[in-house]
Amino acid sequence: MFTQQIINGLTMGSIYALIALGYTMVYGILRIVNFAHGDIFMMGTFFGLLLTQKFRFPFPLALILAAIFTALLGMLVERVAYRALRLSDRLVLLISALGVSIFLSNFAQLVWGTETHPFPSGLSVKSFQVGTVTLSNIQVYILILSCLLMIALHVFVHKTKMGVAMRATSHSINNARLMGINTDSIISMTFAVGSILAAVAGILVGIYYDAVYPTMGYTAGLKAFTAAVLGGIGNIPGAMLGGVVLGVVESLGAAYISSGYRDAFAFGIMIIVLIFRPSGLLGKKQQEKV
């Protein structure tokens, strides 16, 4: 039962981690919380549903196309809602973000209705027994795919010229511009990458629970944001760790204490960590250079 809960926790945890990465990367660069990110995640899931159901694309192709559309949506959101306001007060950006969030979830309700849609992926669900643990093939896909994506992200951020430019931009936009970096396109790309991860997470979780609905971005977004804060917002490995810790704690808490308090465990662990480490698990203390 314990191992089972750990596995279930890891599954949801890696979903949270994928979404949390989008929050943390955007925060790292712009120092804003992209409150529309949960809704971008939801839109990505609907794109996936649409492509597999309406257009009958094979699943891997649908996944890739949905990720691309979601990336474009993320870039559009940055362009429309944030770029012109970048130098404004944080509060103005927050209001703009909430506006986008409300717009997207209402848009989804208008187009797809308020009901919950099943997500038949075409993958036949198989469960298999490993010792005392029951694993479904979907869980295995989620774990493998999110692992691969996180490794890819790590390589991108550390080994490519664009990744280095992104880290430079996240330290100082002006100094990055002095290197000749077009920071507007780096910011745009950051939104694109975060949105791709969110779309994949959304489609995977949509299949896992066989459910897609317009408000799915709220809870998942809130949990993932919690994961990002837990790991240290702005810190990429932190978001991965935060997601996994959150998933596992939630799963264990729900199994051993009470499943009614699942969300309370998630937020509880964040509060406890922040009391002892205000900058999160892997977050560094903000140090100003003189």
Binding site: A165, L178, M179, V290
Partner: protein
């Protein structure tokens, strides 16, 4: 090479530059001297495209820079060594240096220049895999200069390279500035509060006070100017 004409720059409604004009000719070191808040950094950042001017013109090799984005200005050959060095503390020394060559595509020439920068600053090679944030102030300044050199700039803008450094390190930095100009023919616009050092290496200079150029001339003339002696050289 660089001509600034009647440049006016505001922060909100407050003017920081009230119509300054200056010129840097090829292979010159020109210094811009002024006290805190005089508008030195504002001048450089406007040239670099980080700040938009209210009016006036900035010309580089007869091309108007006013409305170009910062990265286009770097591409034209203007690199800045920013105030407070502006190294990326979260990146390694070699990553910082490579960022200096961000817009260049000539891979083998970049690697050659990297070697050349390491020759000028052997300390940087020893620490190439270290995070820039762990370097000392002097080393960070060397990194900032080396990083600007990696762009192979036609014009280098340096914002108070002596700030916060021990006298011996300042000497070293100025020796390198002189070397770059003499041996490499690098054109430099140097901003300093340390007028003594700045005038010692420069060909010409300008003095800026609250957003206006008040005196200009050759380094010799400025060193001999009584007001400058009193206000900036502490004589």
């Amino acid at each position: 090479m660089l001509k600034v004409e009647n440049l006016v720059v505001h922060y909100g409604v407050i003017p920081a530059l009230k119509g300054i004009s200056l010129e840097v000719k090829e292979k010159e070191i020109v210094c811009l001297i002024g006290a805190n808040g005089a508008g030195k950094t504002t001048t450089l950042n406007t040239i670099s495209g980080l700040k938009k001017p209210t009016s006036g013109g900035i010309y580089f090799q007869d091309k108007l820079l006013n409305n170009l984005p910062a990265h286009e200005i770097v591409k034209l050959g203007i690199s800045q060594v920013p105030e407070g060095r502006g190294v990326f503390p979260n990146l390694s020394v070699v990553e910082n240096l490579h960022l200096g060559a961000y817009l260049r595509k000539d891979k083998s020439a970049i690697e050659q220049d990297l070697k050349w920068v390491y020759e000028i600053f052997p300390r940087l090679e020893e620490r190439k895999n270290q995070l820039a944030g762990t370097l000392s102030g002097g080393e960070q300044q060397m990194l900032a200069i080396g990083r600007a050199l990696m762009a192979r700039p036609k014009l280098m803008l340096m914002d108070e390279p002596s700030m916060g450094l021990a006298p011996i390190v300042v000497e070293e930095i100025f020796r390198i500035i002189k070397f770059l100009n003499k041996e490499q023919g690098t054109t430099i616009l140097l901003i300093e509060q340390n007028a003594q050092m700045a005038l010692a290496v420069s060909h010409r200079g300008y003095v800026i006070e609250t957003g206006e150029i008040v005196v200009s001339g050759t380094a010799q003339e400025l060193k001999a100017n009584d007001e400058i002696k009193k206000a900036y050289l502490g004589l």
